[in-house]
């Protein structure tokens, strides 16, 4: 443990309004900490710069999964273990359930929260590609009120996002209209478990008589933040899934992907594996819309 606990202040106000009031009183001064699976690792390495921490752990107002006929709303304090146990998520948002199962260890999943994963904003975040292809919306909260934005507009750069200094991520809204979509998610990590993603690709798609009628593609570790692959989507949308289309899509993805060389892999490898994953996805797509 390289961090000095005495150098940090940690407060736990115990309720969401109290936390929001603290953030509003001195915007930017307090760093929220939920499960701590990211910040405590930095602390152990002596690299936690945030001196003042406000705990979100255990706030009842943040840890919930609410299901209505139109949507499922997941509180930002919901753990990945909670996500894995939810039957609606398992049935209709299986990519999210699978992504949750890949995060760290069971111990990590019992502490790590969905909100923490998104706000931390790692380009390799496991839950992000799934949320992007499910058209997730985020609900943000502060003493000034609430607002909703598309998750696709949340990240603005490497570990940067649209949250104001007094704002928290409150919940993730998933529209319940993907149950019949063809879905794909594959993570390529450094090993089978306890691995950080080297590249991941997620997709939701619909086909009508061999033509791609709807498609969302999102990736991890191909850009400074998790993002949709709009250009590659455009190369597929409305096209018959034939060798020319597939080839165009591959080349589009090669150009659209902006991976980097880092300690875990190389840009060249990531780019090529992303294309291979796209191939694998397109091979799996069935030519007709699924019916109930």
């Amino acid at each position: 443990m390289r961090g000095n606990p005495d150098a940090h202040e940690l407060v736990a106000p115990g309720s969401l309004p109290a936390v929001l009031a603290m953030l509003a009183a001195s915007p930017g001064e307090w760093t929220p900490i939920a499960g701590g699976t990211e910040l405590m690792v930095a602390h152990a390495a002596g690299k936690l710069e945030a001196r003042k921490l406000v705990s979100l752990w255990g706030l009842p107002g943040l840890r919930f999964i609410e299901t209505s006929p139109e949507s499922i709303v997941i509180g930002a304090g919901t753990t990945f273990r909670d996500l894995r146990a939810d039957s609606t998520i398992a049935a209709e948002f299986s990519l999210l359930a699978r992504a949750a199962s890949w995060i760290g260890s069971v111990a990590n999943q019992s502490r790590a929260t969905l909100g923490g994963n998104l706000v931390n904003g790692s380009p390799a975040a496991d839950s992000s590609p799934a949320l992007l292809v499910y058209d997730a919306e985020l609900e943000l909260i502060s003493v000034r009120g609430r607002r909703r934005i598309a998750y696709a507009k949340f990240h603005t750069g490497y570990k940067r996002n649209v949250l104001a200094a007094d704002e928290l991520l409150f919940a993730v809204h998933l529209p319940r209209r993907f149950a019949l979509h063809q879905q794909y998610l594959r993570k390529v990590g450094t090993r089978r478990a306890m691995a950080i993603s080297k590249v991941a690709l997620a997709a939701t798609a619909s086909m009508e008589v061999g033509v791609v009628s709807e498609i969302r593609l999102a990736a991890a570790s191909l850009a400074p933040f998790p993002a949709r692959l709009h250009q590659t989507e455009a190369a597929l949308l409305g096209h018959a899934l034939n060798p020319e289309t597939i080839n165009t899509a591959r080349h589009t993805l090669l150009a659209e992907a902006q991976p980097i060389d880092d300690i875990r892999s190389t840009a060249e490898y990531r780019r090529r594996v992303a294309v291979n994953l796209l191939d694998e996805l397109l091979l799996q797509l069935q030519p007709e819309r699924r019916s109930q």
């Binding site: 390529v188 090993r191 478990a193 080349h251 300690i263 875990r264 594996v273 291979n276």
Partner: protein, 753 residues
């Protein structure tokens, strides 16, 4: 009860002696121990790979009067760690030769205050050009060690290699490389040291070799033997990684204790342990091999080089073992091995399970498959035609006097793994699948005990005594670090004395109590030390019969009553035995020839591997290991050694890569230094054939290192079988396999299936 009822305890899977304490959390590791008034120590390390130290500055933001600080100038004796040579300083003095070299030590009562203070020590350097690779070192443009960068070299010669090339039917060449590997023991290096003027230095620590630490402390503190005491605490894994490094760490903590006047604890965190402590030697091996028309070996010319790092430490003996394992388990009339260990400006490479053999075995066993491909022979058949048999002579002209059952091991491995049927099935299925499967094998031996004359020089002493409260104690400096020393040695003592396993305990691994039975390394504990305990136990029974009236048949009560009578007369019941080399074992250090090892353990590994052409990752799906390591003393522990060695070997082959940036380990965290998890390790099938060795403890040979030697070549041979691609370098990560399989191809060409 008789003393010759073998199979009574030896050969049965009695539970681990210290297992319950570990399970219940009662076992006390060094970080569980707190001494009265204890301070904590930390290390200021070099940030450049090579250079002169110009100045050491202390930032005024810190109140240094609260701290103790130690530099080389505070060392009362020799500023050198005592290994084979003594070239490694305890603390850098005026110059650094690798990143993360210890320069200055600090201690404080509050461990959380140390990091800030370490960061407030400013060291100015005058950088010197560093050397990072074997190639740079052997070019000798920059000399970083001695006169020529050469830490050690050997020449092994049998017959006349150069007379063979012109008449050979086939000549096959290849170059093979292996990377560094970190031990990843669960418990990092750690010690507590206490210095007082009256009693000298006492050290408690996580370590393998108490007497190695003892020897270095004597020199660093210039103290007589009875003023230094080293006590091993429960140790959470070692794998060779606690063979030499604890000598340095113990000296550091003891120096801080002397300076501060308090006991000092130093326990590394994972980042420091990864960055600053030893790893497996990287290697480059070149083979040139001549064969006749039938595929029989005529000549092997082997050029072997290792990267030893900045100081000589154990590089000479690692190189020797690599040299002696480089020709593989084959008979060949003409052999030449030229081997060199080169200095570079990295943390010194050290002991790691296998000790040079995994590097050498990777090269020869990968090369055998390349030979097979080049001459159009099945790799199994090529090996079979060249295996050593009883009466054959090795490269050092050692005659195989004990039975060699390689054919039997190979037959069993092929049968158990259903090798031929699986291979045929995969060849058919691979054509239409993005997953390409293959089977690979490796055949190898591992020499048990110290190399050459090593055991004679060690001259180990070990034995048993009997306490007044009725326990037989095993007296050894051989340590338990998870591999089973406590259990097998107490089994042997119980067997020899005719007692129950519960009647025998281990004496503490404390240099103030136990004799020097040598270091716990080199797969020597079961064979060499086990034999000493067997002899000492039998000798004790003889002593009791001769001097205390113990009958030919005796009960447990008779035994301890006889001990009481013996103690009343003699004062203590002790039986010690000193090492005696098996007859006919002679090694010529000058000619590098003779009995390289008193005994060899033999093994065949078979790996089934799947290569995913979407991700370029190779995964081991199933693994078979057949071995002959003499008598198996404890089947559960022996099987565990084999499974653990194979898991570590899988990491060596496919996952674990030490990334050096300007000589500093850049991925010194477990999230980025990737070891296989339980999910990545396949089912491992373990089979023993037993040929008892008459000079080992109840017939045992060494087992600990053997299983690490074979997985890497077996796995890469399986990858060649699966894909047809030749990979001669480990670790082989997906990024590397990508380059072999797909780089340079367009996306259209690369599309699988």
């Amino acid at each position: 009860m008789t003393t010759h009822a073998t199979n009574r305890i030896v050969g049965s899977s009695v539970p681990r002696k210290e297992g319950v304490d570990k399970l219940l959390g009662r076992a006390r590791y060094v970080d569980d121990i707190d001494l009265e008034g204890m301070w904590h120590g930390a290390t200021v390390r070099s940030t450049i790979p090579r250079g002169l130290i110009r100045s050491i500055g202390f930032d005024r933001s810190i109140n240094w009067s609260e701290f103790a600080a130690v530099t080389a100038a505070d060392i009362p004796g020799s500023n050198h760690i005592q290994l084979i040579a003594a070239d490694q300083p305890c603390l850098a003095d005026g110059m650094v030769n690798h990143c993360d070299e210890a320069i200055l030590l600090i201690a404080h009562p509050d461990k959380h205050r140390l990091r800030e203070a370490v960061n407030a020590v400013h060291i100015e350097y005058e950088p010197l050009p560093p050397v990072f690779t074997i190639e740079e070192s052997e070019r000798q443009n920059v000399i970083v060690w001695g006169a020529d960068n050469l830490l050690k070299n050997f020449l092994l010669e049998k017959g006349d290699v150069d007379s063979v090339w012109s008449g050979a039917a086939h000549i096959v060449e290849g170059e093979y490389r292996t990377g560094a590997q970190e031990h990843l023991y669960i418990e990092n290096n750690g010690v507590i040291a206490e210095y007082t003027a009256e009693s000298g230095v006492t050290v408690w620590g996580s370590l393998q070799c108490p007497f190695y630490v003892h020897k270095s402390l004597l020199a660093v503190f210039d103290l007589p033997e009875d003023k230094v005491r080293v006590i091993q605490t429960e140790t959470g894994g070692a794998f060779g990684g606690k063979e030499d490094y604890p000598s340095t760490l113990a000296a550091h903590a003891a120096l801080l204790s002397m300076k501060s006047g308090h006991p000092v604890k130093m326990v590394y965190d994972r980042m420091e342990d990864l960055a600053a402590t030893t790893k497996r030697h990287p290697s480059r091996v070149r083979h040139r091999t001549a064969l006749d028309h039938e595929g029989r070996l005529l000549a092997m010319d082997i050029d072997l080089a290792t990267d030893g790092g900045a100081y000589s430490t154990l590089s000479s003996t690692v190189l020797s073992r690599a040299t002696l394992h480089s020709p593989g388990p084959y008979v060949c009339p003409n052999v030449r091995v030229r081997s060199c260990a080169w200095a570079t400006n990295t943390v010194p490479y050290g002991a790691f399970r296998g000790f040079g053999a995994p590097q050498a075995v990777f090269a020869i066993e990968r090369h055998m498959d390349e030979i097979a491909a080049a001459i159009g022979l099945d790799p199994i058949e090529l090996r079979r035609r060249n295996f050593l048999h009883d009466g054959d002579t090795t490269a050092t002209e050692q005659v195989m006097r004990e039975p060699v059952i390689l054919d039997q091991l190979l037959d069993r491995a092929l049968a158990e793994s259903d090798y031929h049927a699986r291979r045929a099935r995969f060849a058919h299925e691979n054509a239409s699948s993005p997953i390409k499967r293959g089977m690979g094998i490796a055949a190898f031996y591992h020499g048990s005990g110290f190399t050459g004359s090593g055991e004679r020089y060690l001259n180990s002493l070990a034995g048993v005594d009997v306490t007044p409260d009725g326990k037989v104690r095993v007296l050894v400096s051989s340590t338990e670090f998870g591999q089973g020393t406590n259990t097998i040695l107490t089994q042997i003592a119980a067997e020899a004395t005719g007692l129950g396993h519960e009647d025998v305990i281990m004496a503490p691994a404390d240099t103030g109590i136990v004799p020097n039975s040598g270091p716990t390394v080199a797969s020597r504990t079961a064979m060499v030390v086990g034999r000493l305990i067997e002899r000492a136990g039998l000798q004790l029974v003889s002593l009791l019969r001769e001097h205390a009236g113990l009958g030919a048949h005796y009960s447990r009560a008779d035994f301890f009553a006889a001990c009481d009578r013996y103690r009343a007369v003699q004062g203590a019941v002790v039986s010690l035995c000193r090492y005696e080399a098996p007859p006919g074992v002679f090694w010529d250090d000058q000619k590098y020839r003779g009995e390289a090892y008193p005994a060899y353990a033999w093994s065949i590994h078979v790996a089934q591997v799947a290569v995913d052409t979407v991700t370029y990752s190779a995964e081991v799906e199933e693994f078979w290991a057949v071995q002959e390591a003499g008598r198996v003393l404890n089947p559960v522990l022996a099987g565990g050694q084999v499974e653990g060695g194979i898991a570590q070997g899988i990491g060596y082959a496919l996952y674990e890569k030490v990334l050096l940036q300007n000589g500093h380990m850049a991925n010194n965290q477990m999230t980025n230094y990737i070891m296989p998890t339980a999910e990545d390790v396949p089912p491992i099938h373990v089979y023993f054939e037993e040929v008892p060795f008459s000079h080992g403890g109840y017939g045992a040979k060494g087992i600990g290192e053997l299983p690490h030697d074979g997985p890497a070549p077996a796995i890469l041979n399986a990858i060649r079988d699966a894909t047809g691609v030749r990979c001669n370098t480990i670790p082989l990560l997906p990024e590397d396999l990508f380059h072999k399989l797909a780089a340079g191809q367009t996306v259209e060409e690369a599309t699988a299936v």
